[in-house]
Structures are given as C-alpha cells and as structure tokens.
Symmetry: C2
Subunit: 104 residues, 2 copies
C-alpha cells in the first residue's frame, strides 16, 4: 500500500463517494442488480453498472476510477459471469488509517 496512491485516489469527490457508498451497499444500492442472490452479490460487492448509475458519470470513467482505486489497494473485484463486482478492501483501508494515525 503506497500512501501517496491512496491520497490521490481519494482526492476526487466521486471516488471518495464510491468508497463510502461501498461501506453500506444495501443502503446506497437498494435496487441492486438482482443478477445474483442478494447475499452473494453484496458479499461480492456492487457491479460497475450500479455504481455508474449512482455516480452519474460515464461508463468508461467509472471503470477507470474503480481500476485506479483497486490499484491503490482500496478495492478488490470479483467477476461473476458478465458482471464485475467491486467491494472494499478493508485490510488496506485499516492499514492506511493506522499509517495516518502513527506516521502522519
């Protein structure tokens, strides 16, 4: 986990929102996919299309952002069929909080 990459990833309002939305997916993505049983898709995260709709930006931009956040270690993804589900990587997020608390 490179702290600079985390700071960069979160220095954009849309990306910061995405990370916060994914903290409570049931709350922010209520009419979620239905491509899969509820418990599976929430455990696996939220699909790109649902995030795009909520973020009100283009498909390519969302895909780019999600990839950027994954590179920074903030998200991880799983593919089920044609859908890619993104969810938070809580371990990195915790590590970053600890890094900030102790080293900044």
């Amino acid at each position: 986990m490179e702290p600079i990459d985390v700071f960069k990833a979160l220095s954009n309002e849309i990306r910061l929102n995405i990370l916060q939305w994914l903290k409570e997916p049931e709350k922010h993505f209520p009419k979620q996919g239905a491509h899969l049983p509820k418990e599976v898709s929430y455990k696996g995260g939220v699909c790109v299309g649902d995030i795009q709709e909520k973020a009100k930006t283009s498909q390519s931009t969302v895909s780019h952002y999600l990839n950027m956040m994954q590179q920074a270690g903030l998200l991880e993804s799983v593919r089920y069929g044609k859908w890619t589900y993104y969810r938070r990587n809580e371990e990195t997020i915790r590590q970053f909080a600890e890094y900030f608390r102790t080293e900044i």
Copy 2:
C-alpha cells in the same frame, strides 16, 4: 476541515514529506534558523527558507505548497519579523484521522 482538500494536499510527495518533517522539527531541521532562541522557533514552527532547503525546490513552490496546506487546515503560521514559521495544526490532523477511521 474539508477532507477532499486534505487528501489533495497530501497527494504530493513533497507536501507529505513536509508534514512528516514538521512532526519532529529538531530531527529534520537541526541547523534551524538561529533567528530566534531555539525553544521559540520550534514552538513557532520552522521558517520557509529552512523548509525550502530541505525540500530542494524553489522558493515560490514551497511558499505555494505551505499556503495550500494551511488552507487545508494541516498547517498554521506565525510571523516573527521577516520570517514566517509554519507548524502543524495537530487539531485538524487529529480530526482527519478520526474522520477517516469512522467515516471512510
């Protein structure tokens, strides 16, 4: 304190370094100013010139960066004579750590 501004301020290696250096000014600015008695100048922070020298970048850039970090709430400044001393704003830094821990 606007979290986005803090993320932006720290998404640059030089600025992140400055914040870390100012955590232990005696360690990172040993031959510090001498414009003022040691305890005064460390309490008041480190002057722009010393930070510039350490950061190895131009005077205007450092001044710009310090101002940016102050706007974000990460630093505060005091002027003694012709020197401006910058120091950390520990309250904001603590608030941000808490924000990250609880809301991100």
